[in-house]
C-alpha cells in the first residue's frame, strides 16, 4: 500500500541541548462543564504565568491542542486571549499532541524562533458534545464507522482488544492489573476524578460496554486542561523554575498501513532513534507514563518502546507491579482511566506528570529516584486504528 519506511534517519539528529521543559500545570477536571474550551485553555495559560512569574507578553510562542475549540483554532485563540505570538502551532494529534507540541517547541526555542513557548491542551465536555465530536471526528469515521452502531472509540478498541487477546494470549486479568494499579496511584492524586479504590473483581464484573471491553476499560470523557512551558535552560534557571531535560523525542503517523488490524504502532519504527538520541536504553527508564484511553494500548506501547518484545506484554504485565513503590511505576497520576480524559488534554497528561516526577513536584505520587522517565502518546482513531504515535524521554536536570 505505501512505500516502506526507514527506521533510522539518514542524518543523525541533534539533541535538544540548552532547551528545557518546565512549569507543569493542570486545571482540575470536571465531568461536565457549561464553559467552552477557550475557558479551560485560558485557565491553563494563566496558571503558566502564575507558576513562572512571566508577563503575558513574554510568552512569544503558543502551541494549542483542543477538539472542542471549533470553529476556532490556535489562530482565533490569540485574539480571543490577547496574545501576539511570533510562533504558533495548532496540534490536531489527540493523544500524541503533548509530545509533538514539545518536540516542535523545543526546536523553535533552540533555534531562536521563540523565547518562551506555552503549550496548552484542553477541552470542555458539554452534556451532548461528546456524541457530536464522535459523529464528526473524521471523514472516515463519519463515512465508515459512526453509522455502524455509533459506539465511538469503544467499538474500535474492542476490535483491537479482542484481536490482541486472541493473538498474544492476553487475559482480562492482565488488563485489569494495569487498571487496578493505576487506580491505586489515582487515590494519591487529589485531581483525579475517580476517588474510589478499584478491585480486580470489580473490574472483571463490571457491566459490558463492547465485548471484551467492560466499564473500567473505557476512559471517562470530562473537561479540563493541562500545560507546560518550553524555554532556554538559562532562562528557566534565572526564573528559579524547576525544569527537566528533553533527552529524546519521536513521532510517526499512519505506520504499518498494511497490517490487517492494529497490533503494533509507529513506536516500533522509531524507538531506536529515540533511545539513541537520549543515549539511554529502555532498562534506564524509572517510570512510564503511557497513553491509556483503553488498556490494550498500554500493551502496544510497552512493546513498541521495547520494554518487552512484540506480543510479550501479557508476560511483562504479569512480571511487574506497576505501583508507585514497585517495579516500573506506571501512569503515576492514575492515567486517563482514573483521572479522566479531558479531550486533547489526555495527550498532555502523561507528559505533565513525567515533568512533575523528574522535578520532584509529584507530591504524594512522587517516586524515588525519578531520573529518567518515558512518556508515550497515541492518537486519532481516524478509521480502524490510531494514526499518531509519539514518545519522549525526560531527564532530571
Amino acid at each position: 500500500m505505501s512505500a516502506s519506511v526507514q527506521s533510522q534517519p539518514a542524518f543523525p539528529r541533534s539533541r535538544y541541548d540548552g532547551v528545557v521543559i518546565t512549569a507543569p500545570v493542570t486545571i482540575p477536571y470536571v465531568r461536565y462543564s457549561e464553559k467552552d474550551a477557550h475557558w479551560f485553555l485560558a485557565r491553563a495559560l494563566a496558571a503558566l504565568l502564575k507558576t513562572s512569574g512571566l508577563r503575558k507578553d513574554e510568552i512569544d510562542g503558543l502551541g494549542v491542542s483542543s477538539f472542542t475549540l471549533f470553529p476556532d483554532t490556535a489562530v482565533g485563540l490569540t485574539q480571543h486571549l490577547g496574545f501576539s505570538p511570533r510562533w504558533l502551532d495548532h496540534l490536531p494529534f489527540g493523544g500524541a499532541s503533548g509530545i509533538i507540541a514539545l518536540r516542535r517547541a523545543a526546536r523553535a526555542v533552540q533555534n531562536g524562533d521563540a523565547n518562551v513557548i506555552a503549550c496548552v491542551a484542553g477541552d470542555t465536555n458539554h452534556v451532548d458534545s461528546f456524541r457530536q465530536n464522535l459523529a464528526n471526528f473524521s471523514r472516515f469515521a463519519r463515512d465508515a464507522v459512526y453509522p455502524f452502531g455509533s459506539g465511538g472509540p469503544n467499538a474500535n478498541f474492542a476490535f483491537l482488544t479482542a484481536h490482541y487477546m486472541r493473538r498474544f494470549g492476553a487475559t482480562a486479568e492482565d488488563f485489569g492489573k494495569l487498571c487496578v494499579a493505576q487506580r491505586d496511584n489515582a487515590l494519591r492524586n487529589p485531581l483525579a476524578l475517580f476517588k474510589k479504590k478499584l478491585t480486580l473483581e470489580e473490574y472483571l464484573n463490571a457491566r459490558p460496554i463492547a465485548d471484551p471491553l467492560k466499564l473500567f476499560d473505557c476512559v471517562m470523557p470530562c473537561a479540563g486542561s493541562e500545560g507546560f512551558l518550553v524555554m532556554r535552560e538559562e532562562h528557566a534557571r534565572r526564573l528559579g523554575l524547576p525544569y527537566a531535560r528533553i533527552l529524546g523525542t519521536i513521532e510517526r503517523h499512519n505506520a504499518f498501513p498494511d497490517d490487517p488490524i492494529q497490533d503494533r504502532g509507529g513506536w516500533m519504527l522509531d524507538r531506536d532513534d529515540l533511545y539513541a538520541q537520549a543515549a539511554l536504553g529502555p532498562e534506564d527508564m524509572q517510570f512510564f507514563e503511557a497513553y491509556d484511553d483503553y488498556p490494550v494500548i498500554n500493551a502496544l506501547q510497552m512493546e513498541g518502546l521495547a520494554l518487552c518484545g512484540y506480543g510479550e506484554a501479557p508476560n511483562f504485565i504479569r512480571n511487574n507491579s506497576f505501583s508507585l513503590g514497585g517495579s516500573l511505576p506506571f501512569n503515576t497520576s492514575g492515567g486517563q482511566l482514573s483521572a479522566g480524559q479531558a479531550g486533547a488534554a489526555g495527550g498532555f497528561l502523561g507528559l505533565v506528570q513525567a515533568l512533575r516526577q523528574v522535578t520532584d513536584q509529584a507530591g504524594a505520587m512522587q517516586i524515588p529516584q525519578a531520573n529518567h522517565g518515558l512518556v508515550s502518546g497515541f492518537g486519532m482513531i481516524n478509521y480502524d486504528r490510531g494514526l499518531c504515535t509519539g514518545a519522549a524521554i525526560l531527564g532530571r536536570a
Binding site: 459523529a135 471523514r139 455509533s150 474492542a158 476490535f159 484481536h163 463492547a210
Partner: protein, 414 residues
C-alpha cells in the same frame, strides 16, 4: 443460529408510538457514490483507474499512486472476519433499541479492512464471511457480513430486517390488485410470508379472470380504491392507513399513442390522472400514516411504485404513457426525499413491456406479470431502491447508463 422471527404481538394501543429515529446519515460525496450502487443492488468499491489499487473507505485519490481517476467497480465480498465485538452501548438514539449489536472488521483478499455489521449466523471471529452492502434506514450504504453459505432463517436477522423490507409478517396494500400484475403481487406477497394483503380495486363490478381468488382468499381483503378520486383514497386511508406496512402502487393507465396519432389531450390526461396524480393522491393520504409508524419494530417500512423503463427515455409510439411515467418518476423522487426522514424505503420499479392487454402488438421478450411480482418482492427482501426487471428493461437501463442520448435515438426505431 439466530432465532426465527416470531409473529409480532398485537400492538398495545395505550402504549405510546415509538417515534422514528434514523442512523447517522451524513456522508462524504465519495461515499454517496457507494450508496448509488447499493441502491441498485451492487456492492462496489473504489478502483484506481491508473494503478488498479482497490480501497476503502472511499477517498478522493488513490492511496498508492495519488491518481484522482477513481472508478466504482463491483467486488465479490468474500473475506475473513478478523475481529469482532458485541456493542452494548451507543451514543445515538436510533441504536438504543437495537443494542446489543454485533460488529466486526472484515479483511478482503484485496488487502482492505472494512467495518461491518455481523450477521447473527456467522461463527465467532476469525471466520470466513461474505460481505454485502445494504442501504440503512438513512438510505446510506453500510456493510453486513453474512455467513459464507445461506442459513435457513437468514433474512430474520435483526440488523437485516432493519435494512430490508421483507414482507414476512407485514401487512401490504396493493393498488389495482385485480390487474394481472396486481393478482400476481397478492399471491407472491402471501407466499413470502406477508401477514395479509389489502387488494385495492376500482370499479369492482368489472371482474376480470382471477378476481374470485382475491375475494375468496382468507388473507386477502378486497377494498375499494380509485386513484382518480381523492375521496376514495382518503376513505381507504382513514380505515386502513394506520395499519399498512408496505404500499405497492401498481395502478397504471396505459395507451399506445404518440403526439401526432390523435388530436386532443384526453388520453394523455387519463394517463396522468392515474399514473401521476393518482400517485400524488396516494402519497398525500397514505404517506403521513406510514411515516408516523416507521419507528415501531415490525411496522411501516416501504413504498413501491411500478413505473416503466420508458420513464428514463421516451418510447415515442407510447409517448404520452412514457411522459406520465417520467412525471411519476420525478414525483417519486420527491416522495423518497420526504419518506427518508422516517426511514421508509421508496422502491422504484422500471419494467420493460409487461405481457398484458396493452402490449399485444409489442414483440417479445415481454415480462410475465408473475415474474414482475417476483422481482418486486425480491427487491423488498434485498432492500434495494431501484430495479429494472426483465431483459428489455435491463438492456435499456444499461444503454441509458452508458449514453442516454444514444438510447434516445435507438428508441426512434422501435
Amino acid at each position: 443460529m439466530i432465532e426465527p422471527l416470531k409473529r409480532p404481538q398485537k400492538r398495545n394501543p395505550i402504549l405510546p408510538l415509538r417515534q422514528p429515529t434514523l442512523p447517522p446519515g451524513t456522508r462524504s460525496r465519495a461515499s454517496k457514490q457507494m450508496a448509488a450502487a447499493v441502491a441498485e443492488g451492487r456492492f462496489e468499491l473504489q478502483h484506481c483507474h491508473d494503478c488498479g489499487q482497490i480501497q476503502y473507505p472511499p477517498r478522493d485519490a488513490c492511496t498508492r499512486c495519488l491518481s484522482v481517476r477513481l472508478e466504482w467497480k463491483e467486488v465479490d465480498g468474500r473475506g475473513e472476519l478478523i475481529s469482532e465485538t458485541l456493542l452494548h452501548h451507543s451514543n445515538e438514539l436510533y441504536f438504543r433499541h437495537l443494542v446489543p449489536l454485533r460488529l466486526g472488521l472484515v479483511r478482503l483478499p484485496q488487502d482492505i479492512t472494512l467495518l461491518a455489521y455481523i450477521h447473527g449466523d456467522c461463527p465467532p471471529a476469525p471466520t470466513p464471511v461474505r460481505l454485502q452492502a445494504h442501504l440503512d434506514k438513512s438510505g446510506q450504504a453500510v456493510l453486513v457480513a453474512l455467513p459464507p453459505v445461506d442459513t435457513p432463517q437468514m433474512a430474520d436477522d435483526r440488523i437485516l430486517r432493519e435494512m430490508t423490507s421483507d414482507p414476512k409478517f407485514r401487512k401490504v396494500l396493493v393498488t389495482d390488485a385485480k390487474s394481472a400484475t396486481g393478482q400476481a403481487l397478492c399471491k407472491t406477497l402471501l407466499d413470502a410470508g406477508a401477514d395479509m394483503v389489502w387488494a385495492g380495486v376500482a370499479e369492482p363490478w368489472k371482474q376480470p379472470p382471477g378476481f374470485d381468488m382475491l375475494v375468496k382468499h382468507p388473507n386477502i381483503t378486497v377494498v375499494p380504491l380509485d386513484l382518480s378520486d381523492a375521496r376514495s383514497v382518503q376513505d381507504l386511508s382513514s380505515s386502513i392507513g394506520a395499519k399498512v406496512d408496505i404500499l405497492i402502487n401498481n395502478a397504471e393507465f396505459h395507451r399506445n399513442t404518440g403526439i401526432a396519432d390523435r388530436p386532443g389531450t384526453e388520453t394523455a390526461r387519463a394517463e396522468m390522472e392515474i399514473n401521476y396524480f393518482g400517485l400524488m393522491r396516494l402519497a398525500q393520504y397514505f404517506g403521513p400514516a406510514l411515516r408516523a409508524r416507521s419507528g415501531e419494530g415490525i411496522a411501516a417500512t416501504a413504498w413501491v411504485n411500478v413505473l416503466s423503463v420508458y420513464a428514463l427515455s421516451s418510447l415515442p409510439n407510447q409517448g404520452t404513457f412514457s411522459a406520465s411515467k417520467a412525471a411519476a418518476l420525478s414525483l417519486s423522487q420527491t416522495l423518497r426525499a420526504e419518506m427518508h426522514h422516517a426511514g421508509i424505503r421508496v422502491v422504484n420499479v422500471f419494467p420493460g413491456p409487461i405481457d398484458d392487454e396493452w402490449t399485444q402488438l409489442v414483440p417479445p421478450p415481454k415480462l410475465a406479470p408473475a415474474a414482475l411480482a417476483k422481482s418486486i418482492v425480491k427487491a423488498l427482501q434485498d432492500g434495494v431502491e431501484d430495479i429494472y426487471p426483465g431483459d428489455v428493461a435491463q438492456d435499456l437501463f444499461q444503454k441509458w447508463r452508458l449514453n442516454a442520448k444514444a438510447l434516445e435515438r435507438d428508441l426512434w426505431e422501435q
